[in-house]
Amino acid sequence: MNLWQGFEPGQLIALSILVPFIGALLVVATGKTPNLRETVTLSTAVILFTIVLAITDLVFQGVALNLQVIELFPGLGISFDVEPLGVLFALVASFLWIITSIYAIGYMRGHHEVNQTRFFCCFALAISSVMAICFSGNLLTLFIFYEVLTLSTYPLVTHAGTDAAKKGGRIYLGILLSTSIAFLLLAVLGTWSLTGTLDFRPGGIFAETEHKGVLAVLLVLFCYGIGKAAIMPFHRWLPAAMVAPTPVSALLHAVAVVKAGVFSILKVVIYIFGLDELRNLETTDIMLYIGAATILISSCIAMTKDNLKARLAYSTVSQLSYIVVGALLASSIAAAGAALHIATHAAGKITLFFCAGAIMVASHKKNISDMAGLGRQMPLTMAAFAIGAISIIGLPPMAGTWSKWHLAMGALDADKLLIVATLIISSLLNIAYLLPIPFKAFFHRSNEAQEAWSWSQTKEAPLPCLIAIGVTSLGCIVMFFYPEPLIALINLIPDVSTIGNSDG
């Protein structure tokens, strides 16, 4: 990227965090004139994406990017260090931020939401902290911005200001803050006192630690401390967060926030424990099967939900555990599948949420049982929903295929047949709770609409919403036919490879 050539690598990291932060300030400054405010949001998002692209370019060239900011404790401070996994997450988050901003403009205006300035400001702040999480160079930095992300998204969850929103916000903040303080901080401090470092290093930092029992406990603390990964029984915050406006649910609770959780778990597994060390811990298998149970149980719960967003939320809980399972299989190919799933699930799930929001704006329907025959009214939206659903299920020709494929290969590679079975059953469950929605929308007729269908009957969501939906559903297809750049990026992660070698 020639655009940012004059900048030092370290400055690029700083820019990636500062640009959305400054964007947030500008949003507040221009709050009086909505058109200008939205221009600020969009241009900030585009600038951020070009910065991330520039960083990606440098990573492919093998340039080391790092940045020390301040030292909080002797030998430990806020520092950033770019590695391929973080770049992957940053690419996904920053690209989808552009799309979500377009969508949000249509949605927030179509839905006549209040306090839109606060909304766009907090949104930009959340993205800023996601960038900091992506590029964090040690556990302390990760922890700090993990907390900032929780706090900056709280006003978004409670945006509506109703009693339901307050209750949802309380659960959201309660679970995320308490797990992170009681478990994650303890795990971080435990790591610090065992090793004297919190840096992310290829191969892990525990090589010289003799207390394997303590490490086993630490792993459990990390898995539950990172509550954003929504492993059961600490998953309740995610359905509770669905009271937020749909763009928030779409970008934050299908992509940025939840992916920050599973990203942190992957990062801890790869760079703190190291896949080799992980394989020998006693608790790895326990957490692995808890992850597998989360996949199945939340899929079953999803089936019982009639509210579309609630169903998607439980589907997300289930899909997040795919990534957790991929990480804990401790096989290089499963880890690659997990990393890939961050990108493919993001595209699929954000499409589904966009559709749910579009339906809400255009027809004010929230429940699936009311959506029969909706395909006549919103054909484009429902077609996109079908594409997203197929991608989540993991069928060709959609992107989800690749990540499920690698996860299953990883499970076989690690000789965990039970996990393979879980993945297959889960795909069937996905079919059972996702596909009926577009199916009924297209093939069931509501009673009054008997005449032949024509375009004039359609009543779609505002144009910005449709554009966003189009881009992400197209993304699902493109990533199937053209996954090479992603795979090349993932193969740069130490110990992780899509080809797979069981020796690690």
């Binding site: 301040i70 409670t158 401090l189 435990g190």
Partner: protein
């Protein structure tokens, strides 16, 4: 002259100024005078800290009588550090008090407030710098008597019962300390702390000294409101004028914690207190119970000042826990938390006082809708509240970090977990207030609609503390270096005595 008598200045300046404040009468002048005096004392303690950090420790013989016969003032990194915090908070509180006491204290008694405040400051400074055990008791009484006066000054007459309760408990505590010091004098024939330390060590295992230790520890525990001897604190903090509460909460109990540290490490020696007498286990258990019991009590109160008062007792638990770990890091965590907690609680009580100034009540219901009406005050409350919880980039996080590190150093994993779990209760009690302020709408009557932002003279000191909360949460080297050198110094001195005979 300034350099030469530096160690005595933080006591002498406010002590002389106190009666002058009374003579000046009720005017703006008294306020300005008291504030300047306090600022001067603060400036002197800053120089003392610099001197202590560069030279290790300073000794000053009061009236030219050399120790151990005369009264010695001893300044080292540990007490200079706390002294700076106390005088700085005192100055900020005095700036703040001009508006605050208009609402809460009868104007006839304003000079009395400034006089009592300065006397209290003199007493607290005296406790910190003195090197003499009996002199410590005298200063403790000066500060305590001033405190009882301060608490009882409020217009709200419920403060009288609270002050009386405080008076009774405080006097019992002081008497216990006096009895303890008397026993030590009986056995050793000296009152100078360093002299005492040597002789106590020689009189190894003597029953009189054991009893003296017990009396002193109980007495100090009352003064610092260690659970279960904390019953006087919540009513006193609730009913005292806000400016008084802000000052006491961030200084008086902290100084008492310092007294405990001083008695344990300098006079009795850590080995004797912890190894032989097993005090560490007692303190640790009481501290843990304090953290949980009082944090829980804080979640169930409707008066926000009471919430913060119970929270203070819980936070004292964290400091004592640090001491009870018997390690350099643990003691350091305790000392850091003394300083950091002064910053947080000072800001919180000032914010609550500002709410009282505008709304006239500190019930949690009165906070409804204040997020819109008093945005700056509530923003200050929010940041200081996050600091109490221990969110990163605030001072609260630094305290928690070192306390948990200290616990993990000794493989106390459960203790580490309990410390962190305790802060979850803080999430609840701070969260309740924030929810009322930001998510509930104000009542509809006309008076509520007129609530304005607090006056600048209240906001400036409040925000100075809030900014300090963030500044020292990011630039941690100043506090940690001072605390770690203080902690190492205290431990070394304990150990030196162990070898010397």
């Amino acid at each position: 002259m300034f350099e030469q008598h530096l160690a005595a200045l933080p006591i002498i300046i406010p002590l002389i100024a106190a009666p002058i404040a009374l003579i000046l009468g009720r005017s703006l002048l008294t306020w300005g005078f008291a504030t300047l005096i306090s600022a001067w004392a603060c400036y002197a303690s800053w120089h003392l800290l610099l001197a202590a950090l560069s030279e290790g420790s300073l000794s000053y013989a009061m009236g030219g009588w050399p120790p151990p016969w005369g009264i010695e003032m001893r300044v080292d990194a540990a007490n200079a550090f706390v002294l700076l915090a106390v005088t700085a908070v005192s100055t900020l509180v005095l700036v703040y008090s001009k508006n605050s006491i208009e609402k809460e204290i009868d104007s006839a008694q304003h000079p009395l407030f400034y006089t009592a405040h300065l006397l209290c400051l003199a007493g607290l400074s005296g406790i910190l710098v003195t090197g003499d055990a009996f002199n410590l008791f005298v200063f403790l009484e000066i500060s305590s008597l001033a405190t009882y006066t301060l608490v009882s000054l409020a217009r709200d007459r419920r403060c009288l019962t609270a002050a009386f309760r405080y008076l009774v408990m405080g006097t019992i505590g002081a008497t216990f300390i006096l009895i303890g010091v008397g026993m030590l004098y009986m056995k050793t024939g000296t009152l100078n702390m360093l002299d005492l330390a040597e002789r106590i060590h020689l009189a190894d295992g003597n029953r009189t000294i054991n009893t003296g230790l017990a009396f002193i520890m109980v007495g100090v525990s009352i003064k610092l409101a260690l659970f279960p001897l904390h019953a006087w604190l919540p009513p006193a903090y609730t009913h005292a004028p806000s400016a008084v509460t802000a000052f006491l909460a961030s200084t008086a109990t902290k100084v008492a914690v310092y007294v405990m540290i001083r008695f344990i490490f300098t006079i009795f020696g850590a080995d004797y207190v912890f190894r032989e007498m097993g005090m560490d286990l007692i303190l640790m258990v009481l501290a843990i119970v304090a953290i949980f019991k009082c944090s829980y009590m804080a979640t169930a109160q409707s008066n926000v000042k009471t919430v913060l008062a119970y929270s203070s007792v819980a936070q004292i638990g964290y400091m004592v826990l640090g001491v009870s770990l018997v390690s350099v890091t643990g003691l350091m965590a305790g000392l850091i938390h003394i300083f950091n907690h002064a910053l947080m609680k000072g800001a919180l009580f000032m914010a609550v006082g500002a709410v009282f100034y505008r709304v006239g009540s500190v019930d949690i219901k009165a906070f409804r809708g204040l997020g819109k009406q008093m945005p700056l005050t509530m923003a200050a409350f929010t940041i200081a509240g996050l600091s109490i919880i221990g969110v990163p980039l605030t001072v609260g996080f630094v305290s928690k970090w070192y306390l948990v590190t200290a616990a993990l150093e000794q493989q106390h994993w459960i203790l580490a977990f309990l410390v962190l779990a305790g802060s979850l209760l803080a999430v609840i009690y701070i969260g309740r207030v924030l929810e009322a302020a930001y998510f509930q709408s104000a009542s509809d009557d006309a008076s509520a609609a007129e609530v304005k932002e607090a006056p600048w003279l209240m906001l400036i000191p409040m925000w100075s503390l809030v900014i300090a909360n963030i500044y020292f949460g990011i630039e941690t080297s100043i506090t940690t270096e001072a605390a770690s050198s203080a902690s190492e110094w205290l431990f070394q001195n304990s150990k030196v005595l162990e070898v010397s005979p």
